[in-house]
């Protein structure tokens, strides 16, 4: 286990809800992340899949140290992130980069592609100006953008090309981990495959670890070495590689797979669709948070909260039925 690059142990992030006109009192909290543990291994991809409001983007912010956990611990390279010196924090900021969902809003419209990609290098102050220019040209080639792209502005590129610029920017300072928050969900289907292939090539070439966050289980399946399924702030199933897709155990994982549109008219829809909506994380249901929507719910599901249990090697499920 010592090979993990980043470890999350029972992390929680609760956002207080305040009310009152003169005296702001805490009246409750949104349990965005409620006791989640997982490891990101060197050069591997950990995928987090879940619907909106399940807390996956909060985890992205916590992993980038843009926000702090309410409880629990995060260690990076063996050091607890709370004990980082300012020099260590600066180093962390270089070695962990991010690519966000919307390449239309994550790139400054006033900077050229070259300036966007060069920015982290300028901040790092390790390269001369001519060396930066060379590095930018090299990065453009790595992400498959044409020569001369550095002088053009984001609006001159298509969505897929913009995402390539965002990837080049993340690669600029040789990171060890990239947080990919819905990297392809804003892109057209035909372009998605291109970007996923590019991300895999980059991982193979540079040995970068990924934390991939997506709502699309097909994207996560294609990219991840290990996958965690989240529902209302908790992991409900964690498994390696194909285990999750070949033998999904948790009813929610099954429902996510059933919701994937079939790829051929003859293909039978597998499993049941979930009825109802995702409950509010302010008032999560008692017991198992899925029980009001779960087709297999029993009496104890409404009372007792299931813990994650190992059901097969490296395969954890949080459900009373296992």
């Amino acid at each position: 286990m010592s090979s993990s690059l980043m470890r999350f142990r029972e992390i929680r992030r609760h956002f207080p809800i305040k009310d009152g006109v003169f005296v702001r009192r805490e009246v409750g909290s949104v349990r965005a992340v409620d006791g989640v543990s997982f490891d990101i291994e060197h050069g591997k991809t950990f995928g987090l899949v879940g619907e909106s409001g399940c807390g996956k983007s909060t985890i992205a912010r916590l992993a980038l140290l843009l926000d702090h956990v309410t409880d629990g611990s995060i260690t990076y390279d063996g050091t607890d992130v709370r004990e980082f010196s300012s020099a260590e924090l600066r180093k962390f900021r270089h070695s962990v980069q991010a690519v966000f969902q919307d390449p239309y809003s994550s790139l400054s419209p006033r900077l050229t592609a070259g300036a966007i990609i060069a920015e982290p290098l300028v901040v790092a102050r390790t390269l001369s100006r001519s060396a930066i220019r060379e590095r930018v040209a090299e990065l453009l080639e790595t992400v498959g953008l044409p020569r001369g792209a550095e002088d053009r502005y984001p609006h001159e590129f298509s969505g897929g090309q913009r995402q390539r610029i965002a990837i080049a920017r993340a690669l600029a300072v040789n990171p060890r981990l990239i947080i990919l928050d819905e990297p392809v969900s804003a892109l057209d289907v035909s372009i998605r495959a291109q970007i996923m292939n590019l991300l895999k090539d980059i991982q193979r070439e540079f040995g970068i670890a990924y934390l991939l966050i997506a709502h699309d289980i097909e994207v996560v399946k294609h990219m991840s070495d290990r996958t965690g399924v989240m529902y209302l702030g908790k992991l409900v199933e964690v498994a390696d590689g194909d285990d999750l897709y070949l033998e999904p155990r948790h009813p929610y994982t099954n429902a996510l797979m059933a919701a994937v549109p079939p790829s051929h008219p003859d293909q039978e829809q597998s499993g049941d669709l979930l009825p109802g909506d995702v409950p509010s994380p302010v008032t999560p249901p008692k017991g198992c948070s899925l029980h009001p929507r779960c087709p297999l719910a029993e009496k104890r599901c409404a009372v007792e909260r299931p813990e994650l249990k190992q059901v097969a090697p490296n395969h954890l499920v949080g459900c009373h039925l296992f």
Partner: protein, 335 residues
Amino acid sequence: MAHTQSANNASPVLEVKNLRTHFQTRRGELKAVNNVSFSLARGETLGLVGESGSGKSMTCFSILRMIAKPAGKIVGGEVLLDGTDLLKLSEEEIREVRGKGISMILQDPMTSLNPLISVGKQVAEPLHLHQGLSGSSLWDAVREVLALVRIPAPERRLKDYPHQMSGGMRQRIVGAISVSCRPRVLIADEPTTALDVTIQAQFLKLLKDMQKSTGLGMILVTHDLGIVAKNCDRVAVMYAGKIVEIGSVRDIFDRPAHPYTRALLRSLPKLSEKHDRLPSIEGQPPDLLDLPAGCSFQERCPHAMPICRRQEPEQTEIAKEHLARCFLVDEEAEA
């Protein structure tokens, strides 16, 4: 406007013929919809598939004449709703058609609902305007359509504002508004893109159920071929403002003829298969202001021939009601 409701179910409810919509831009004329023709039968669902910028949304907006003026203009063609050409109607007459003859569901339920008006009032508005209902009969009708889209406890929800509802429930409200006046055609433009995956499947099922009970014709716009497989009877694939292939859902999935359709199908990730690399369509979507001479897909096409760079392919019939614009299927074409 008096509609002559055709008793003949075989005649299409909607026919679009050679529709062309152009936009004037600083860089020149943009042909967003370039000679698009298709028909829609009663109770049928036509999938309109393509990448962003392929003209699928503009085709839908053109049908209801909701093109931003003066930049955009419908420059030609016919849109026949039960034989009446919508492009020839006066402003007043087309307003009658919107919501009553043809209605529309847009992608984002947060922006298509008014945040300052309760959902009950928003559902009531078209019923009042188009059906002339008022008083208790109006509110009975509102409750009825809310029940149709399976809003739990509709009575309690009438006074709610959109922000008090989840995304899936908001989209169901939009669905309720769009079917409230019993339109003959429903255009759903990426209706599930903004919804969560488990809610997506729910909403698509609801649309199909509503269609079954009302017999309306539906145009389902999407960039996701997966959604098409189970929900559509026929499919039109658009590329650069043109329909490049149209056929039954079987034709498209089992016998795709156009290289673009084939590439789209290949790039669908499949849960049941493990690829190390996904097959992808190389290159970028074309710039509509700078289209090459000949076929618009030539630069990304693995089968491009010299003729594709000179001449634009015509629509060719491959089998009954299965058409494609490609020289590969045009036997008279010489490479």
